[in-house]
């Protein structure tokens, strides 16, 4: 464990005073009852009173999967906020119930891959001591709500999304009407000018906006999603006054619950309903339903919003100068530090502070994996440098959101022994990658060895800097947990004639201009993939202008030159043509 002397920049050594939503007695009581309920269900299952099929949706809604090797437990990290105390507990649990590590997913979850089925009630009870759980992290229900990891600190923020996230967390937890939806339902909220939560690729996306009268409300997107038949969400309502948020969501979910398809697993997401009805008819039904619910008891007042906002009071920032000359000096002396500073620091709305991105993308390790030592170390560092609180991003990276700029050099030095000072955020090795065939029972192909092969091929820092900002994501099957659809270069594992193949798509992007990438052609063998990436990068190098990053060049010159180069010298007839519309084993 890294525990520096208190005088070394540690100005906030506390465990109690954390600036995030804090459970009260009622939240704790509900969670306690949930743990007891799960324990009872597991016992009844083991006693043969509750069949596996009957248990299934309930264990899933506590985050418990039965996976390829063992049960897998998915812990929810509501809207991505995590305290040092919670992270320490996760480390402890990983030692006691798992193999001393956890895996961060793309949806504000941490997964344990090796718990024992019979032990999960104890594990959940242990988690509940730090107000954590696996509630609705899986199953056909409203899932854990996700948002921007820079919530509350981003300079381009219109309003902090976290109070709204908490309102929706409470509303969606054990919702009596929406616990058995046609399929999973994912909500993401963004409160800033630039969307960093990919709200347009969610079943429901909420963008906090202001109307001309300066009232706060939401632009409501529905029907986005990845997976099979990826789609960008469409606007259901351009401005929903915030006081109506709950009745409107209730109406929208009710339309989905009643009319979403239940006869075919592959057609049961809301995007299929939105598409088959058309956005106008879908909207008409939602608004018609809403007419009955509007102004009902769940209408929120300004006083309610203020109360939720007070759960997220800003930490006691110091008044600091904007400039930190010592940083520039250190950066001049130390190239590795300068590199980190350039890519892993995100601007902050308070002068003298920065948010720090910590990619969990160590070479040779599954992206998103974190060891118990790293968890403990980070919990300490969060206390020393960031008010005892961390964020989890959808890109499988962690964020220390409130670091004094003058502490960045010490922080960087402390991150190095933990292996958390590399790679650079946003560069090629900072991939999103799902666990794939090594762990996941649904996989068509492994994704981790492929991601590692790419990281190995592209490991020279100078070259990476030259390539610049690029997103490359890998999924092991069409469920797309690796978000490959919205990556500049997306890689999807497919399985044909019992062999692993990889389909490449180009041109995806996240953010306000979220786009689904297009598949360039037949799939490749795993060995070919690093060469294919190399070929794509070459086309970018040959064509880029001075200011362009990969996606800009791709957009300007089109996919064709990239496609041509990727297949140059390859016999297309030997590659695998895959029809993604065919249901596979996903």
């Amino acid at each position: 464990m890294i525990r520096a002397p208190a005088e070394a920049a540690g100005r906030f050594l506390t465990t109690g005073n954390v600036f995030m939503y804090r459970y009260d007695a009622i939240d704790r009581q509900i969670l306690k009852e949930r743990v007891a309920q799960h324990r009872d269900q597991i016992e009844r299952n083991l006693a043969g009173e509750l069949s596996d099929d009957e248990l299934r949706p309930m264990r899933l809604q506590n985050g418990l999967y039965i996976e390829r090797h063992a049960p897998m437990l998915r812990v929810a990290i509501p809207y991505g906020q995590l305290s040092s105390a919670q992270l320490r507990k996760l480390a402890e649990i990983s030692r006691r119930y798992d193999r001393r590590y956890g895996h961060f997913t793309t949806r504000h979850n941490l997964q344990f891959n090796w718990p024992k089925f019979e032990q999960t009630p104890d594990l959940l009870e242990e988690l509940s001591t730090v107000d954590m759980h696996g509630i609705q992290s899986s199953g056909s229900c409203i899932r854990n709500i996700t948002t921007d990891p820079f919530a509350g600190v981003a300079p381009d923020e219109r309003e902090d999304p976290r109070p709204y996230c908490e309102i929706f967390r409470q509303w969606s937890t054990f919702h009596p009407e929406f616990t058995f939806l046609p399929r999973k339902f994912k909500i993401a909220i963004s409160g800033s000018a630039e969307d960093r939560a990919i709200i347009r690729a969610h079943d429901l996306g909420l963008e906090i906006v202001k109307n001309p009268e300066d009232e706060t409300g939401f632009r409501v997107f529905a029907g986005g999603g990845m997976g099979r038949a990826p789609m960008i969400g469409q606007i259901v309502r351009d401005f929903l006054p915030r006081r109506h948020a709950l009745s409107y969501l209730e109406a929208l979910l009710r339309v989905y619950n009643r009319y979403g398809r239940r006869d075919n697993l592959y057609k049961s997401r809301i995007k299929i309903l939105v598409n088959s009805l058309g956005i106008r008819e879908f909207t008409r039904r939602v608004e018609a339903e809403w007419a009955y619910l509007k102004d009902g008891p769940s209408t929120l007042t300004d006083a309610d919003f203020d109360r939720f906002a007070r759960c997220f009071t800003p930490p006691p920032y110091e008044i600091l100068p904007e400039d930190t000359p010592s940083l520039t000096e250190e950066a001049e002396k130390n190239g590795a530090f300068a590199f980190w500073l350039k890519y892993n620091i995100f601007p902050h709305k308070i002068p003298g502070y920065a948010a720090v991105v910590l990619p969990l993308k160590a070479m040779g390790k599954p992206p998103g994996d974190i060891t118990d030592i790293q968890m403990d170390g980070l919990a300490d560092l969060a206390e020393r440098f960031s008010f005892g609180e961390l964020r989890v991003g959808h890109d499988q990276n962690l964020v220390l959101a409130n670091v004094r700029r003058s502490d960045l050099f010490i922080l960087w030095k402390a991150l190095r022994p933990l292996g958390l000072s590399t790679p650079a955020a946003g560069l090629l090795p900072d991939m999103i990658c799902c666990p794939g065939g090594d762990y996941c029972g649904l996989a068509n192909a492994r994704s981790l060895p492929l991601a590692n092969a790419i990281q190995e091929r592209f490991s020279n820092p100078a070259r990476l800097r030259d390539i610049g900002k690029i997103s490359l994501n890998v999924s092991g099957c069409v469920n797309s947990c690796g978000h490959h659809h919205v990556a500049n270069i997306g890689i999807l594992g497919v399985d044909k004639n019992a062999a692993e193949w990889y389909q490449v798509s180009l041109g995806g992007r996240q953010g306000n201009r979220a786009t689904i990438g297009k598949i360039i052609g037949p799939a490749f063998t795993p060995k070919e993939i690093p060469d294919v990436i190399e070929a794509l990068i070459d086309v970018y190098f040959e064509n880029r202008t001075a200011s362009e990053c990969f996606i800009d060049t791709l957009e300007r010159i089109g996919v064709e030159p990239f496609r041509a180069r990727a297949y140059r010298g390859r016999d297309k007839s030997k590659l695998a043509r895959i029809d993604n519309r065919e249901p596979s084993n996903a």
């Binding site: 009957e54 409470q170 509303w171 054990f174 919702h175 009596p176 009407e177 929406f178 009902g296 309610d304």
Partner: protein
């Protein structure tokens, strides 16, 4: 006599559920003389006969049917069934809420079909007040399913005010 859960207790209950076989025309089936819940199609095609025996007549909604399908008749019934063909088919929860909250139905709403202990608490919150537990399951043990949580976050049929309104009162 079969036992069901009603208003939080186990009671004997004689209501039957009439289910049509796929090739059975609702126009011509023989109506059982005793108290029964009829499919919507039977209610619609045999209304005059059934109106004459309303005391022993109820309807049940299949999961693809909605209260709107029987809107003008809802107030006539003492009892409306909601079918759960599979416990994981959640459409019945919306139907129950609509019956209570939109159509102000005051009679009994009975869950029929794949009705299991672990869903009772949710059903209750949506306005279902009688539960014909699936045959083969212990109805007495299932009673425990009504005792779920001491508090709930969102408004429902029993308690329309969400927790955030009550918590700080």
């Amino acid at each position: 006599m079969p036992e069901i859960i009603k208003n939080g207790q186990i009671v004997d209950d004689a209501w039957q559920v009439l289910r049509l076989k796929t090739d059975q025309p609702p126009e011509s089936i023989e109506l059982p003389p005793d108290a029964a819940l009829f499919p919507v199609s039977v209610w619609k095609t045999r209304k005059p006969e059934l109106l004459a025996r309303l005391e022993t007549t109820g309807v049940w909604l299949a999961s693809h049917e909605t209260p709107e399908d029987i809107a003008e008749d809802i107030a006539k019934f003492r009892i409306i069934g909601i079918d759960f063909p599979k416990f994981s088919d959640g459409r019945g929860y919306s139907s129950a809420r609509l019956l209570r909250e939109r159509f102000r139905f005051k009679g009994e709403i009975r869950a029929i079909g794949d009705v299991l202990r672990d869903q009772l608490f949710l059903m209750k919150r949506c306005g279902i007040d009688a539960y014909a537990i699936r045959p083969g399951k212990d109805v007495h043990a299932a009673l425990a399913g009504l005792r779920g949580f001491s508090e709930t976050y969102q408004g429902d049929v029993d308690q329309p005010r969400p927790l955030f309104l009550r918590r700080y009162a």
